[in-house]
């Protein structure tokens, strides 16, 4: 029978690295998806995944075992992702190098890639990049990860009302930015 996160975390807190390994193997893929949605860059997402687990290991002693390990880990990963995005913006402002936010991964063309090629992709990337940190996080968690607003607020560590408003603002900004594009595509 597969052990629950809670049972594995109890072992990991005692320094059992095999238990922590089980958590890493279980949560890496969803964490990568979240990190990619947040950073828009494969290499950054890889770094975020690794850094999140390193932080989680260091912070395990403070983890409240009554809480959900997945939610806690998502919170760490969103903070790591925001660090990466902020740091990249600072570097980009300094060196005037193009910000790779939401640059698509290389590979063969797929129907989605073709549909999202060119101007549309660029405009969506720009619109996403205009969102503030809480808006971007709340939107990614609600829209891409399918979390209920109640759960989004737990990850963000805020009241559900605040999480809801971050989602509203994100969608409103995206709609205003992309309206000319989507109305033209009707």
């Amino acid at each position: 029978m597969e052990l629950t996160d809670s049972a594995i975390v109890t072992k990991a807190r005692l320094g059992d690295t095999d238990a922590f390994r089980a958590l890493v193997e279980r949560h890496s893929r969803p964490l990568f998806r979240l990190a990619f949605r947040m950073t828009g860059n494969q290499q950054d997402a890889e770094d975020v995944v690794q850094e999140s687990f390193l932080r989680a290991w260091r912070q395990l002693g403070r983890f409240d075992e009554r809480a959900s390990f997945g939610t806690w880990l998502y919170r760490i990963a969103t903070n790591c992702s925001l660090d990466v995005v902020r740091s990249r913006k600072r570097r980009s402002a300094d060196s005037e190098v193009e910000d790779p936010v939401f640059a698509l991964p290389s590979g063969d063309p797929t129907p989605e890639r073709v549909a999202m090629s060119g101007e549309v992709r660029e405009r969506v990337a720009e619109a996403m990049d205009e969102l503030s940190a809480p808006e971007r996080t709340a939107f990614v968690l609600r829209h891409f990860e399918g979390m209920r607003i109640e759960d989004v607020s737990r990850v963000l560590g805020c009241q559900p009302g605040a999480a809801k408003h971050s989602v509203f603002r994100a969608v409103q900004k995206l709609r205003r930015a992309l309206e000319p594009l989507v109305s033209g595509a009707r």
Partner: protein
């Protein structure tokens, strides 16, 4: 029924509204709301189609191999927090003192150390200086808040701990950059700072008034924050000279 607001339509899209049936009925009757809802749907459908690269089933195993050797020994941190509170603060004070001594020396020697960059030394040095200056400022803010905190009972420092945790992660990047550019003194300060921040993140999330007061008095007596400010100022000055 009044028109649906954009917020209500967004909640409807995500199925989180209070009365979905009423919203659906209104959309069936109201062309204006239907048009607005269509716009929300089209926007989110476009955003939704951004592709995400897939990772195979062995991905978790590969992540583990990459981080396994980097996991710090947790026992090394635990012993500090197993100490009685006064000793714990003595240990924290010693860590602060070591940090400040290193920071002060780095601040004096930093301007005399040329950065070793291959391509564009001046631009590289400036980027590092901007990053380190900004980082020191934010680290200083966390320490100031802890030093100036007042509370009638136990003080919740979990927010400062969160920020310290973020700073630890950022620290790694700057420390590595400093190492690559040959700024050993800055790298050393950042290394020391990381340890202090780590100790803060591993502290209990609630401090008693006594523990807080001891920390405040120590920071004041040793002029720690002033010295950090001097280092930050040196870095900023140096940054100005590279422009």
């Amino acid at each position: 029924m009044n028109h649906l607001s954009e917020e209500q339509l967004i909640l409807h899209y995500y199925g989180e509204e209070d009365d979905g049936v009423a919203a659906e009925r209104h959309l069936g009757e109201c062309e204006a709301c239907r048009a607005l809802y269509g716009s929300v749907q089209r926007t989110l459908n476009v955003v939704d189609s951004l592709p995400v690269p897939e990772r195979d089933a062995e991905y978790g195993e590969r992540v583990w191999k990459r981080i396994e050797h980097r996991l710090p020994a947790r026992r090394g941190v635990r012993w500090v927090w197993a100490l009685p509170a006064p000793w714990r603060w003595a240990a924290a004070g010693a860590a602060f003192a070591a940090l400040l001594a290193a920071a002060f020396l780095a601040g004096r020697s930093y301007p005399r150390q040329p950065a070793q960059l291959a391509a564009d030394p001046q631009a590289g040095e400036r980027i590092l200086l901007v990053a380190v200056g900004d980082y020191l400022e934010r680290s200083q803010m966390v320490l100031i808040e802890l030093a100036n905190a007042r509370a009638p009972g136990a003080l919740d420092i979990s927010s400062e701990q969160e920020r310290a945790m973020d700073l630890v992660s950022e620290n790694r990047l700057y420390r590595q950059t400093a190492g690559h550019t040959g700024d050993a003194a800055v790298a050393s300060v950042l290394d020391e700072l990381e340890r202090v921040l780590l100790d803060i993140t591993h502290a209990p999330s609630r401090l008693s008034p006594g523990e807080l007061e001891k920390l405040r008095q120590r920071l004041e007596a040793e002029g720690i924050l002033f010295k950090i400010r001097v280092l930050g100022s040196n870095v900023r000055n140096q940054e100005g000279q590279t422009l």
